[in-house]
Symmetry: C2
Subunit: 317 residues, 2 copies
């Protein structure tokens, strides 16, 4: 099946009904940006053997690819709008693979309200390499930024932390098999609805892709602040809690591992009830895990004892 037939058969249906895509017939998409909005644009690549294993169901790979990009939109508080897909496909990628891959995209498009606007497919001798550029919309000047954290802000995370890093250790057979943790690695849940509601509430926001310590470092660095975390308050899933009770050295994976795709955000104390209400309405747990400070480092405490991981990925310069 040649490139054009592939596009017509499996990708054009993902663009159908979205006028700006021109049904993938032209050199580029033509997108309307509603008045009063800004465009949010982000791009993320996943590579076989680096970000995914390769033997996963193609629909899972498709969803992970789309979701890591949606998570970046969520971190900015944006509403998903459209995406462009660039795929570098090795020979082993056959029609059946593409069919399943497109099915995964189709399901997630419906779930997150986003449409395919354009793309490029390329043959390659290398590993399967997939790039999505996701476009979102946001009312003017409402984008959540990393640089707005203020000393005294509460620090929150959504969901639970560390599942994905532990799930990867399970998949690598360094920990016993655990379906829940593995699925958290394979299929992140981008917090799009939460990001949208945090406009005007959060002072700073980021998604946890590099790891809690490192991503908190990004907020502190751009905001010229520091932070104190209370380790016992960090929300863990039941399987993660069970593992950490047996082996406390796993705190390192939980604090520094990546790929959680939860939101990490800060808000002034007087927004605590607003955060709680958003959380309740969306049925997305958010947990206060510490405070923004004027200190010199990011400090993690447990019962008055400092337990900051040796490698935090951040030092206030």
């Amino acid at each position: 099946m040649d490139e054009f037939t592939l596009i017509r058969t499996y990708f054009a249906p993902l663009a159908a009904g979205f006028r700006g895509s021109l049904n993938l017939t032209d050199d580029a998409a033509v997108l309307d940006i509603p008045a009063g909005n800004q465009l949010i644009a982000t791009t993320d690549t996943i590579v076989e053997g680096v970000h995914f294993i390769g033997s996963e169901d193609p629909s899972m790979i498709a969803k992970k690819l789309l979701r890591v990009n949606l998570s970046d939109l969520a971190a900015m508080g944006a509403t998903p709008y459209a995406y462009l897909l660039a795929g570098t496909l090795p020979k082993k990628v056959n029609v059946n693979w593409v069919k399943k891959f497109a099915k995964g995209l189709s399901e997630d498009q419906k779930l997150f309200g986003i449409a395919l606007a354009g793309g490029d497919t390329t043959a390659s001798f290398g590993p399967l390499t997939l790039t999505i550029t996701a476009l979102g919309l946001i009312p003017k000047c409402k984008a959540l930024r990393r640089n707005g954290a203020k000393a005294g802000d509460d620090i929150y995370v959504s969901g639970t932390i560390g599942d994905s890093a532990l799930g990867l250790l399970c998949l690598k057979k360094k920990l016993p098999r655990d379906r829940y943790l593995q699925l958290r690695y394979l299929l992140p849940q981008p917090r799009v609805a939460l990001g949208e509601k945090l406009r005007g509430v959060a002072n700073a926001c980021i998604d946890i892709s590099d790891g809690l310590m490192q991503d908190l470092g990004h907020i502190c660095h751009t905001s010229k602040t520091c932070a104190r975390l209370d380790r016992p308050m960090i929300p863990l899933s039941p399987p993660a809690r069970k593992l950490i009770e047996k082996k406390s050295a796993l705190w390192n994976a939980i604090l520094s591992g990546g790929d959680d795709y939860e939101l990490l955000f800060t808000a002034p104390k007087d927004k605590a009830s607003a955060v709680a209400a958003i959380s309740r309405n969306l049925k997305i747990p958010t947990t206060r895990i510490g405070s923004i400070t004027t200190g010199k480092n990011i400090v993690v405490e447990d019962g008055g004892k400092i337990v900051t991981p040796a490698k935090t990925g951040y030092k206030h310069f």
Copy 2:
């Protein structure tokens, strides 16, 4: 050098001065779209060993990557605005390579008036794989499309055709070395200024990336028309002319080879003087090479004889 230092040192300067990039500090770019404009969005990947050789000066690879994307914007008549860069970098890519690569981008950003808005860098065991998503602006409903060609339209191309395909044959040592032809393959000239001026003048437009026959096929297919080309009118560069005089079989490479990144467009007969004036003002040659027809096939003629290549990549269904 870690990812963040790399971004701060070599990529952030490419985004400096462009407000929407947020200096690459956040999860995504925040872009203003001027009122009355639509956003044009396109993505293209180039892979080592497929679209470039790998041993080229990194600044040339950077320019080719940006330019193939700019050529898609040109085909739509868009004005370049911003781009996102996703790079999958094998180990051999060192700091010096990145420095030269960024220098190439910097030079072309100035030349074409576009800025870096965001990106992603990833380590890989595979070949160097680079994706750009280019964003352009166009006044509402002015985008050039492929589907507007009408029977009776003149068919034009910019520049000269086939140089790039011949240049690649030179680089592959299937033809004698020729600096001019090779450079045409290595460093395309996207016809951005011409695309902008063709708004309201051309009925249909595409850039020649797949080859003259195939890309004309795309116009005919979407416009539900056919075409007749007059082969002797196809503009050739002096080195291409010399080669074809020795070996007329090379017409196949000229007609069906890709990577010219010239514009192929159609315009009604009464716009001929407008096309000529645009061409003169921009000092970009445009040549009438045939007509859009209501026929059943794309036909290439030479002195009344039909010389259509066996494989045109197109058949009217």
